[in-house]
């Protein structure tokens, strides 16, 4: 029987919000993969993006700002059989919670991490985000942003991520394919998504992206150096050419496959500790 994944809950997004495209992309991926929805846990943080788990009928945790990855990591460590999808915004992922991105990547924890990157803080009514471009005029940078934006793809690559992709919410079919690949990928998968904010980001609009993006084809996705080259193309071209698609994908054992306890099986399904084990442990202290 075909599973349906929508909850019917209406998100808080503005009409035209890029996050609808991301919702459509995730839905396409789930529909195609038909994973048992009771085994899917979607974890979000805070911001417009955090509504994502609510629109789906899977398990979900709508956590706190920036902590999508540690919460999701806790779920995955506790039960390797669950399919864990992180859904975050650029404030969550590249601002307040950026440290967790580095560590989740180097751990190669098997999580698909979909980041709705609108280059602005929308729910707090339009302040600069870590990915706002230099010169961007926002409520917190009325004279123009003077900081270089974070490059999430290059950061993930440098941190040891085994799957790095970028999508555009204006193309949910392409995005859905990337998310599907990210979910199927064994290991940490970052899918950064340009997801325009129609209310507060007047610079990085759908049109702005459509004039600049192109889809990667035939690139060597197992070569770190070419992935870096492509991941920095937007910056190097002064944002005139923005590649989207799969930048990098390699196989490396996941954290759960390497951990001495977890490689024996899902933690949740391991036998309960016994009285005999406790007594044996206490023997060390005599």
């Amino acid at each position: 029987m075909t599973q349906t994944y929508t909850s019917g809950v209406k998100p808080v997004w503005c009409p035209g919000c890029g996050d609808y495209g991301v919702q459509a992309g995730i839905l396409r991926a789930l529909n195609e993969l038909q994973i048992d929805k009771s085994k899917v846990v979607m974890v979000s943080g805070i911001g417009c993006s955090s509504a994502m788990p609510h629109v789906f009928s899977t398990y979900g945790i709508h956590s706190i700002h920036g902590r999508v990855l540690p919460v999701a990591t806790g779920v995955k460590l506790a039960n390797s059989d669950l399919e864990v999808i992180g859904t975050a915004g650029d404030g969550d992922a590249y601002g307040i919670g950026v440290a967790h991105l580095i560590h989740a990547a180097r751990r190669n924890i098997d999580i698909a991490y979909v980041v709705m990157n609108n280059q602005i803080y929308g729910l707090t009514t339009g302040q600069a985000s870590p990915t706002s471009l230099v010169g961007a005029k926002t409520k917190s940078t009325p004279f123009g942003d003077i900081e270089e934006p974070v490059n999430p793809l290059a950061l993930a690559l440098a941190s040891g991520a085994t799957f790095v992709a970028r999508g555009f919410s204006g193309d949910p079919a392409h995005l859905g394919e990337l998310i599907k690949e990210g979910i199927l990928h064994k290991g940490f998968a970052l899918i950064d998504v340009f997801s325009p904010c129609v209310s507060f980001n007047t610079l990085n609009t759908y049109d702005w992206f459509r004039q600049r993006i192109y889809k990667l084809q035939g690139n060597n996705t197992s070569d770190l150096v070419s992935a870096f080259t492509l991941a920095t193309e937007a910056e190097r071209s002064n944002w005139s050419k923005i590649p989207i698609g799969l930048f990098y994908k390699v196989e490396r054992p996941t954290y759960n496959e390497l951990d001495i306890t977890l490689k024996k099986g899902s933690l949740a399904k391991q036998p309960q500790h016994t009285k005999e084990q406790v007594l044996q442990l206490l023997e060390e202290y005599r």
């Binding site: 009771s38 085994k39 398990y59 709508h62 779920v75 669950l82 933690l267 202290y285």
Partner: protein
């Protein structure tokens, strides 16, 4: 009661702790009561370290103010420790490393520890073992238990290490000119030598805690070391990038149905605060260990304090139910380490185990305790109760709603840190302030808070323990101060001063009425390791009873029974 306190002092790296722990274990195996404490600084090599082992023929809860025997491995040890030993103490020292000229009335025993160590084992570090042998002789304890203790302690290092240690110890034991100065008689019972951290970790393990998340921080780090060392025993340990990740991973793992815990000291707990509130809002059962050290800020990283009590009780924005328990003894660390998980599961809220440097890092010889831990996972929904869309946060009489575990079909829900309705759907952004969402907020808030009323009604544990109820005066303590305070009460009563003890381990929630009945009208002296007398504040807030007399301490050193005795005695006008 006969008790002997032995202080071993020297430089970090001299094997002070190892010698002290061996001595404590040998004494415990001889059926004696043991309490041990280590003084150290936040420095890896060098620095002055001491380890004091107190051995007695009845139960003790403190390490003794002044040592009866000092082993001084260098000159610093003599100079730094001369005010911490009795005037007639026995002092063992190596004349090639130190002189004891400044000690006037001590009984000095020069032993060429280094020379013996090198000749017996070829390893200069083993001078600590030579000294250990000499101490065993002076205590009148046989050398016989040492071999098995060495085997258990150094077994992994191989037979040669064990044999060399034995040779060094017996050379010290048989050193000419030393005789037994004490005669201690054990009760034949076997005891484990446990520090509070290890006891807490093993208690948690016994309660089927399967995941521990932490970032290193003194004095909580030995819990981390325990879980890391036992990762092959069906438990996951994850060292995290910071304490924020630690508590958030704990929430994630607990949400997925696994019993999970994180631990830290005050600085790390400061970072955990937001995650703690999320556990409260999501109603996820987590256990957090906070081992207090001397603050504020970095403070004295390796020193004792009880100044985080009100902080952990109030940490995080808004109001949510939490349980705070401060074990009083190493035995109770095990018991509460286990019980905390049942409380967390039953009331679906964070449980904080409040330790402190003194209980975390002091060792007690504890009798074999009951390891039969009953496991109660609380209200778990299963598919049989499924009826339409699952109401994870169903409004119930007792405030507790059955929770479902991801992987269970038909009971999917979203746990949200925003205010939510019975399904977990948000009533925040779009609906705040609009009917009927105002009423939902009202009821959901009350539902959460009600859980502690339920806990108070159904568990008779949330009140202090009263000893010697008809006494004239009472010391009032929480957590680790119980040990030295119990001994102080004995000392006071020996002089006919008629003291009792009121000791808290369960701090929040508190059965205010019963606690008030227990305290009201009594002559009370509050004893705690902070400036603001936080326990006294808490008691007053909960019960209205004001404790006027206070013995407070904030210099980083744990209480000794003797100082509590002296101050209490002067407060009752003797």
């Amino acid at each position: 009661m006969t008790s002997v306190a032995i202080r071993i002092a020297g430089a970090n790296g001299d094997g002070i702790e190892s010698a002290g722990a061996l001595l404590a274990k040998v004494a415990a195996r001889n059926g004696l009561h043991v309490f041990a404490y280590r003084g150290y600084q936040s420095i890896i090599r060098g620095g002055h370290v001491w380890y004091q082992v107190r051995i007695a023929d009845s139960e003790i809860g403190s390490f003794g103010e002044l040592a009866d025997i000092l082993v001084a491995l260098n000159q610093d040890a003599i100079e730094n420790q001369k005010t911490h030993i009795k005037s007639n103490a026995i002092v063992i020292f190596d004349p090639s490393k130190a002189n004891a000229d400044s000690l006037q009335s001590a009984r000095k025993i020069p032993i060429p520890l280094l020379e013996i160590a090198v000749s017996q084992s070829g390893d200069p570090v083993m001078r600590n073992t030579v000294a250990l042998g000499a101490v065993l002789k002076i205590l009148g304890l046989p050398l016989s238990e040492l071999e098995d203790v060495l085997r258990r302690t150094f077994g992994k290092k191989g037979e040669e290490v064990i044999a060399n240690n034995l040779k060094a110890a017996s050379a010290g034991y048989n050193f000419q000119g030393i005789d037994a100065a004490y005669s201690l008689h054990g009760d034949g019972k076997q005891r484990y030598l446990l520090d509070g951290n290890t006891a807490t970790a093993i208690g948690a393990y016994a309660a089927d805690c399967r995941a521990y998340f932490a970032y290193p921080m003194t004095p909580a780090s030995s819990i981390l070391h325990w879980f890391a060392a036992h990762e092959d025993k069906g438990v996951l340990f994850k060292q995290t990038e910071d304490e924020i990740a630690a508590i958030n991973m704990t929430v994630g793992a607990a949400s997925a149905g696994v019993r999970a815990m994180c631990g830290t000291s005050g600085g790390g707990f400061s970072l955990m605060v937001e995650g703690l509130g999320m556990a409260g809002m999501l109603e996820v059962p987590i256990v957090v260990v906070e081992s207090q050290r001397s603050g504020p800020s970095t403070g004295l990283p390796t020193k004792h304090s009880q100044a985080d009590m009100l902080f952990v009780m109030h940490a995080s924005q808004g109001e949510f139910p939490r349980i705070v328990v401060a074990p009083r003894t190493q035995e109770e660390c095990f018991k509460i380490g286990a019980e905390a998980f049942n409380l967390a599961d039953r009331y679906q809220c964070p449980v904080i185990i409040l330790l402190d440097q003194f209980i975390s890092e002091s060792y007690k010889g504890v009798e074999a305790f009951d390891v039969n831990v009953e496991i109660d996972r609380g209200k778990i929904a299963d598919t049989s109760t499924s009826n339409g869309r699952f109401k994870r946060y169903a409004l119930t009489e007792d405030g507790i709603s059955p929770r479902s575990i991801p992987g269970t079909p038909g009971l999917e829900f979203v746990a949200a840190s925003d205010e939510h309705d019975e399904y977990g759907d948000l009533v925040s952004d779009m609906f705040a302030g609009i009917d009927p969402y105002v009423e939902i907020r009202d009821k959901m808030y009350e539902k959460r808070m009600k859980k502690l009323d339920t806990a108070l009604k159904s568990e008779p544990i949330f009140l202090p323990e009263l000893s010697n109820p008809t006494a004239k005066h009472f010391l009032v303590v929480y957590g680790s101060t119980y040990g030295p305070a119990s001994e102080a009460v004995e000392m006071l009563n020996k002089e006919g001063l008629d003291f009792g003890l009121i000791s808290f381990s369960y701090l929040l929630p508190l059965d205010a009425e019963k606690t008030r009945e227990m305290l009201a009208g009594k002559d009370l002296i509050d004893v705690e390791a902070n400036y603001n007398a936080q326990l006294a504040q808490w008691v007053r807030l909960q019960t209205g009873v004001e404790i006027v007399k206070k013995i407070r301490k904030w210099n980083g050193e744990p209480f000794t029974a003797e100082e509590i005795y002296r101050q209490a005695k002067s407060m009752v006008g003797v």
